[in-house]
Symmetry: C2
Subunit: 317 residues, 2 copies
């Protein structure tokens, strides 16, 4: 089981909230699923962080924007301009509130008379219910409504389960012909020439279980989206405030560390990572500690870190 | 002459050109003239740099934008949004190509339905000739046309000369009455009761000579703007390329280090500082060396540095 596992890797580009700090960038994360790079939110300076942490601009084909507040979108126009300067030709897909198209189009019109060398394909999000917004061979992406002051969605990325491997010894033992092997990998059993039924499970071993990641920012605590993040391996949840600003969290539709941890606990996620800390906290440890008191498997994200999203191997769901 | 000299100080916030680098910000500088903070250009991430280098957002009342390329303007919307978040009420003056008003207004309309708590007063620049664009008790600011692919202006900041001090010993020696002192400071002579004529120069000492700074970015080499920067104490001039890309500099309307130095030499400036280096140069020393070969008093700007713009004291113009 030490076989090469395809990446399911999150790179943290920014961790802060709306007000600028001298040492943290606003929200942006990149999820690498087997070589597909998904950019989630794009605060000011995201392109600088991508350069710093070696995420190639040309690798980004899908951008997911949770909501249209400045600290989640002000990096877009710079990133798009850099893509223009580099002569990008591949389509770029942006998943967001539909109004973003207007916002970006008017800027691109101004800067380039809308003559840019690639297509931008806008995918409007649904703020009423969970929806599948992307799917290919390796991954499915869902959006789901959060509870913020403006239309806001979270995103869940689900790796597709890989087909299991046939166990070489079993191929020899039962003399399984090549023509049957793909069918068995896809779930079939094997009938020997003596008409003995060998179940799929005896013949195969799972490569690795499918992994999942969910992103929840910005939002106040709301049980409506718990089902959408149930049992993900890693949940990123905003934690703008500590308990001392619980009321402010309510009125601004943000979460405390404890709120984020309650979501993680109720949704039975593997691990919780928190960020989007308010600039008022010089040290966000207080937010982290309050979260850990509710859900011990909590960490604060750090700019530039790469998080390998993993399940314990050989444990099936 | 060791009296406190009012600041005439340039803080470098960004040094790079259009393509993002991992360790440099695009163009932005702040000039502090006796407590007035003038922001010159505003590339992406300028507000982060201001926070890092302790330039208070509320101190900025005047923003000068040389031209409307992304690496000089993408930080504006984030900075304005932060001013909104902080509840700014003071007027903000922006000096730029007139089209910037449209570009920013449409974004502010989108983000805040144009209901922001302060006025933005737009001052369109003149791209045909030099023009005085700001003046108060301490400083006069001029814009002058540069030669780039789009309408572009440079800026010159001229401190107003301070009135000289009366020499205390002379006041005693000639028993100068209080009523005459302001007139003498302003340039008058003194006639004693014995009808002896004492010239102004014998009675006064200059506090410090007026200082000046000019900003030229982006531009190709063009002698048309040399008179506008003549004899400034410090000239900032872009130097995007080294001589190896001389042709590219011509076709993109940018300067080499040697071009910048030629301007400095012909304009007889005190010192030259260069920046806006292309991302293709891992090490910009080649640009610097080529500039110094033409004009030895040249330095490359460094992010975060504070440059005290000085004249040698007691040397009059």
């Amino acid at each position: 089981m030490s076989a090469y596992v395809m990446p399911f890797q999150l790179t943290i580009l920014g961790t802060s909230s709306a007000l600028p700090t001298s040492n943290r960038y606003p929200t942006a994360q990149v999820l690498n699923v087997s070589g597909r790079f998904f950019l989630i939110d794009c605060g000011e300076g995201t392109q600088t962080q991508m350069r710093k942490y070696k995420i190639g601009f040309s690798k980004i084909n899908h951008i997911f924007i949770s909501h249209l507040h400045g600290d989640h979108i002000f990096g877009l126009i710079g990133l798009l301009s850099t893509m223009v300067l580099y002569g990008r030709i591949n389509d770029l897909h942006i998943y967001s509130y539909s109004e973003l198209q207007k916002y970006l189009s008017v800027q691109l019109q101004f800067l380039y008379a809308n003559e840019i060398p690639f297509n931008i394909i806008y995918h409007p999000l649904n703020f009423k219910k969970e929806q599948k917004i992307f799917e290919d061979m390796k991954v499915t992406v869902y959006s789901f409504p959060l509870s913020h002051r403006v239309p806001t969605c979270g995103f869940r990325f689900e790796e597709k389960p890989a087909l299991p491997n046939l166990i070489p010894e079993k191929i020899v033992e039962y003399q399984i012909p090549i023509r049957d092997r793909q069918r068995i990998k896809e779930g079939g059993d094997f009938i020997t020439s003596d008409n003995i039924h060998i179940p799929h499970e005896e013949l195969t071993v799972n490569k690795h279980p499918a992994r999942s990641f969910a992103f929840c920012s910005d939002t106040r605590y709301d049980e409506s989206y718990i089902e959408s993040v149930r049992k993900v391996d890693i949940l990123y949840h905003e934690a703008t405030f500590a308990n001392d600003n619980n009321e402010l969290a309510q009125t601004t539709f943000h979460s405390t560390g404890a709120d984020a941890a309650k979501v993680a606990l109720k949704a039975q996620v593997g691990k919780l990572i928190i960020g989007h800390f308010s600039a008022r906290y010089k040290d966000h440890n207080i937010i982290l500690k309050e979260a850990q008191a509710v859900f011990p498997e909590t960490r604060a994200i750090i700019e530039g870190e790469v998080i390998n999203i993993e399940k314990p191997l050989l444990i099936s769901d």
